[in-house]
């Protein structure tokens, strides 16, 4: 079934339009990639979906319900999670706390119970800790649970961001350049990781990426953006052989 639909979405900052006539249809369980040069409007798409910006025109529907006009918090409540192009971890907090915080919406005790340590508080806190440690283990970060987030190496920070996003229990996961700054070996691991969590958590994934190896390797469908407009859309083979795309973005030759 179609999970996310963007129709004729247009977003302008004053006179400059970052996105013009953007359309997207994402099906449940799909793994789709968005590629394009810097400034093409890719992160704007994420910001529009998650409510950070409000689309100037157009409609974005998730499971049929309109997202445009909702606050980021309301959209996250519909189980849409994301990571960020420039890592936005809670840098002064511990790795564990970063993941625990994202469990907020799934916490089942009231403020009064928290204040007085009544009832469900203890059980829930332990459950959240166990859940969080489980997520950290998937991303091989469990041994760093007590470390301050800012002290982590760059690649680990990126993985932590994904772990944190998963803590929301999302249905749709938006990954913004998850492989930025990684070396080839790390990229291979990341590709396995993404496919793994997609299976394990039954996710639909939309990702922005510049690393062609990852995009061509795991994406089922790819959309190419340039100057806020869609250049091409299709399977990796189609995109790789598209002359416009090669001209504008891939540099004219075939990509390995």
């Amino acid at each position: 079934m179609t999970l996310l639909t963007a129709t004729k979405v247009r977003h302008c900052f004053g006179g400059l339009c970052a996105l013009a006539d953007f359309n997207l249809e994402l099906h449940q369980g799909e793994l789709m990639g968005i590629i394009g040069p810097n400034g093409a409007g890719k992160t704007t798409v994420f910001n529009l979906i998650t409510g950070v910006y409000r689309a100037t025109e157009g409609s974005i529907r998730y499971r049929g319900a309109e997202l445009v006009g909702l606050t980021p918090h309301q959209i996250t409540a519909r189980r849409i999670a994301r990571t960020f192009q420039n890592i936005r971890l809670f840098r002064d907090l511990s790795v564990l706390d970063n993941v625990r915080i994202a469990h907020y919406s799934q916490t089942r005790y009231s403020p009064l119970e928290a204040l007085l340590h009544l009832g469900r508080y203890r059980r829930e806190e332990q459950r959240i800790i166990d859940d969080s440690r489980g997520l950290l283990a998937i991303f091989k970060l469990e041994h760093l649970a007590g470390e301050t987030a800012r002290n982590l190496p760059y690649g680990s920070q990126r993985r932590l961001e994904i772990a944190r996003a998963l803590a929301i229990g999302p249905e749709l996961l938006l990954l913004d350049e998850p492989a930025a700054g990684m070396n080839p070996a790390e990229i291979d691991q990341l590709m396995e990781l993404i496919c793994g969590i997609r299976r394990q958590f039954e996710l639909t994934i939309l990702l922005i990426e510049h690393q062609m190896k990852l995009v061509m390797g795991i994406c089922e469908r790819i959309k190419v953006l340039d100057f806020g407009e869609t250049l091409a859309e299709g399977s990796p083979e189609v995109i790789q052989n598209d002359p416009w795309v090669m001209e504008a973005y891939l540099g004219g030759g075939a990509v390995g």
Partner: protein
């Protein structure tokens, strides 16, 4: 002119006078905020020290008015630079809040230091001979006119400096982008010090004007006047010079109006309620622009 017309004209003059003093102080807040994104909470106390320096110059040295004004402005400017160099510069890369607390500490220090020397309010001797003209029922005091015109002159000079001189351009450049400006050969530290000097100098002028208009001064006067001028700067749009002036005159106007219409004890209540509403409705002030956060 009708009786009430005369009365309101008088109030307008009062408002202009009060607004002028607030404006001179508010400008210092705005300039420092524009260039360092920092609220200089000690600024109100620099104003107070300025008033006391004026008092000293008048009583001990018995200097003519213009000299008193110049000395006060210069001494205040020096104080401003001293504070900046000793207390703020080392904290430029520290968490924002630490600089604010330091500013509060400096302010407290100035208040109590002055209190040590002058535990009681002081009366500033008249600096100028006051002439009152009766114009169709309105009492025009020369003092009021001097305060208003001198303040406006200073503001115009500042406006010129900021818009036309290299120093002013540098100040505006730094407030837009602090990191790349030094790369263009601009002596950032010097410009920042100059900004503080100008702001503090204007506060010193405000102290002199205040002594002219309301001759009783005390070490705690900087708190109320300072905070109000600060709020005025925010209402006008903090970081902008014109905003500071507009906000200050609005504040002066509102204060005088409230006192004219309601029992004077309601003054602060109404003023702060209005300011609160204004800020919640339009946080970036009248002339300010909203900060856009990039995600």
């Amino acid at each position: 002119m009708t009786q009430s017309g005369v009365y309101w004209l008088q109030q307008i003059l009062n408002a202009l006078q009060l607004g002028s003093i607030y404006a001179l102080i508010a400008l210092g807040y705005s300039m420092v905020y524009g260039i360092l994104t920092m609220i200089n909470f000690a600024h109100g106390d620099v104003f107070m020290v300025g008033a006391f320096i004026c008092f000293l110059a008048a009583t001990l040295l018995k200097l003519p008015f213009v000299l008193t004004l110049l000395i006060t402005m210069t001494a205040s400017a020096g104080l401003g630079v001293l504070i900046e160099r000793l207390a703020y510069k080392p904290l430029r890369n520290a968490p924002h809040v630490s600089a604010i607390i330091t500013a509060l500490g400096v302010g407290l220090f100035l208040e109590n230091l002055t209190l040590a020397f002058y535990p009681y309010p002081q009366h500033v001797p008249p600096l100028l001979h006051n002439v009152t003209w009766q114009l169709g029922g309105v009492a025009l005091s020369s003092l009021q006119l001097i305060v208003i015109s001198l303040s406006l002159t200073l503001m115009l000079v500042l406006d010129y400096v900021v818009r036309r001189t290299p120093v002013g351009v540098a100040m505006r450049a730094i407030s837009w982008d602090k990191t790349s400006v030094p790369l263009m050969g601009v002596p950032v530290n010097l410009i920042i010090s100059i900004t503080f000097a100008i702001g503090a100098g204007l506060a010193g002028a405000a102290g002199t004007m205040y002594s002219l208009a309301y001759p009783v001064i005390d070490p705690y006067m900087g708190i109320m006047v300072g905070w109000k001028a600060f709020i005025a700067a925010v209402v006008g749009g903090i970081g902008t010079i014109r905003g500071a002036v507009i906000g200050a005159f609005i504040l002066g106007g509102v204060e005088i109006m409230v006192v004219a219409l309601l029992p004077s004890t309601y003054r602060d209540l109404v003023v702060f309620s209005l300011l609160l509403t204004l800020i919640v409705i339009r946080p970036h002030g009248i002339l300010g622009s909203p900060r856009v956060q990039k995600v």
